[in-house]
């Protein structure tokens, strides 16, 4: 099998990740729920994960990192907590549904206003549209760092600066960039950075969270067990426990810490260079195939390891299914939970076929994927290309 769906989740992980999870499953007590050795083993592993996340993503300290099940939950915590009833939020058409749906729910249920800055057909952000959206006096700007469809990395440092000048807090969805390229929330100006563990950080599914800058106070989405302050009627007020109700996924977070340790050993710069090289080689190869159209990828200031394309007018699902059935190549077709981005690119009916690369992919796999796509294009398009 050739696995090229790393933007969905990385299937191939460093072996240390599975080893850490396996060890955790047979040795961890309740995390934060006791002070005996088994509990402390879990607590230390979770603390290690917090510390590594903070180091990797530029959070002020381990205490500024709260864990959640995934980036969607983290974004819900940030958006629901920071956007008050009747207030205005700004996002972009590149956003994933993990940003769009919480915002639209706030619009529908709490009278909030949502402004969406446009994306051009080449995948780039329309900064004039973004600037106009900021004139609506937003409380919150929530945007994606990189399109999960095209891989375009947006100039979020500039976007954060503009958001702050407009008086808004800046929430960054780093689902596609955390671990894929160097990310420093302080340098980027993010007030909140939401991440997932199971993509480029190489952690297990069910891990993710949010890094919160100093001075940003997010009320909890959930309240309940905290392991401490049991006689208080409400959930603790301090980070990170404030945003974590119930036992965190310590087993998974042990794996996340191992995944990040691997990244720190290799170097995110090196990982990014590798995936960029693979993406460039793949793009160059598929552009030689008659009928193939690459979507975006050069509209930002950088590119995560994603190449999205279509083959003529062939349904993206057909292409992906043939890649899987005939060539044992795993890619993602369809809408990618990015409806506005597809509309911006004109692919809301056809969808798109997304190839996404990781540290563990090789140039040989890229060549096989190009060859496979050429075969499918020839079959499906015949002389129509």
């Amino acid at each position: 099998m050739i696995y090229l769906d790393n933007a969905a989740t990385t299937m191939v992980k460093p072996p240390e990740v599975a080893a850490a999870v396996a060890e955790a499953l047979t040795s961890f007590g309740g995390v934060g729920r006791g002070v005996h050795p088994a509990s402390l083993a879990a607590g230390m592993a979770v603390y290690d994960a917090r510390e590594r996340v903070a180091e990797l993503l530029g959070a002020p300290s381990a205490g500024h990192v709260a864990f959640a099940l995934n980036v969607t939950m983290a974004l819900n915590i940030a958006i629901d907590g920071l956007l008050g009833a009747g207030e205005t939020a700004v996002t972009t058409a590149a956003s994933h549904n993990s940003v769009l749906r919480p915002l639209f729910r706030a619009r529908d249920e709490r009278g909030c206003r949502v402004e969406v800055a446009g994306i051009r057909p080449d995948g780039s952000l329309d900064f004039a549209s973004y600037e106009r959206a900021l004139e609506a006096n937003p409380r919150l700007v929530a945007v994606t760092h990189a399109s999960n469809l095209t891989g375009d990395v947006y100039d979020v440092e500039r976007m954060a600066r503009m958001a702050h000048e407009a008086g808004a807090l800046f929430v960054l969805d780093a689902a596609q960039t955390a671990g894929a390229l160097p990310v420093d929330m302080a340098a980027l100006g993010a007030d909140v950075l939401c991440f997932t563990g199971h993509k480029s950080l190489f952690g297990p599914q069910g891990t993710g969270g949010l890094c919160v800058a100093d001075g940003v106070d997010i009320p909890p989405l959930l309240e309940g067990g905290s392991g401490t302050h049991s006689f208080d009627e409400r959930h603790p007020l301090f980070m990170p426990e404030r945003l974590e109700a119930g036992t965190v996924n310590a087993h998974g977070l042990a794996g996340l810490a191992a995944g990040i340790a691997f990244l720190q050993d290799v170097g995110v710069d090196k990982v990014h260079a590798h995936t960029a090289r693979l993406a460039d080689a793949f793009e160059a190869g598929v552009l030689e195939i008659p009928g193939v159209r690459v979507l975006g990828g050069h509209g930002g200031i950088d590119r995560s390891g994603i190449v999205a394309l279509n083959v003529g007018d062939v349904d993206s699902a057909v292409v992906a299914d043939r890649l899987a059935q005939d060539y044992d190549i795993c890619v993602r077709a369809g809408a990618h939970c990015a409806p506005l981005m597809h509309k911006a690119l004109g692919t809301d009916v056809q969808g798109a076929v997304r190839f996404s690369f990781s540290w563990f992919n090789t140039e040989a796999e890229v060549e096989q994927a190009v060859t496979a796509l050429a075969g499918i294009a020839a079959d499906e398009l015949g002389g129509r290309a």
Partner: protein, 128 residues
């Protein structure tokens, strides 16, 4: 014996919270002999609990202190002392002054430092 017996609060640390209610105030240790160090100062039965606000801060503080070379360990807080966190950093009699100085110098987050006679052994640490 109540949870607070054998415990002596040594005043508030800088940045610490208010003192506990009088009914939770510890009594003077009634068993001086139990405080005698059986195997040297670092194994003294008199120990000092550094109280913290949360598990996360406690784990961070523990790592910081261990990294600085202190033979501290993590221990449960006697329930009579504090009902909030449940975790504390346990330091030996021989190190507490240096630990206090470190906490102040490094501006470490903590709630209070409390002396306990006939404590659990501060020198034992199976975890590290």
């Amino acid at each position: 014996m109540s949870a607070a017996d054998g415990v002596r609060r040594e005043g508030l640390a800088a940045g610490g919270k208010d003192a506990p209610a009088a009914d939770r105030a510890p009594s003077v240790d009634e068993s001086a002999e139990a405080a005698a160090a059986p195997t040297g100062a670092s194994r003294s039965r008199t120990a000092w609990y550094v109280l913290v606000r949360s598990h996360t801060e406690g784990l961070g503080l523990y790592r910081q202190l261990r990294g600085a070379g202190f033979a501290v360990r993590i221990a449960p807080v006697p329930h009579g002392l504090q009902a909030c966190c449940g975790m504390s950093i346990l330091a030996g009699e021989d190190e507490i002054d240096a630990v206090r100085a470190f906490l102040e110098r490094e501006r470490c987050p903590y709630e209070d430092v409390v002396r306990v006679e006939r404590a659990i052994d501060a020198g034992r640490d199976r975890f590290c």
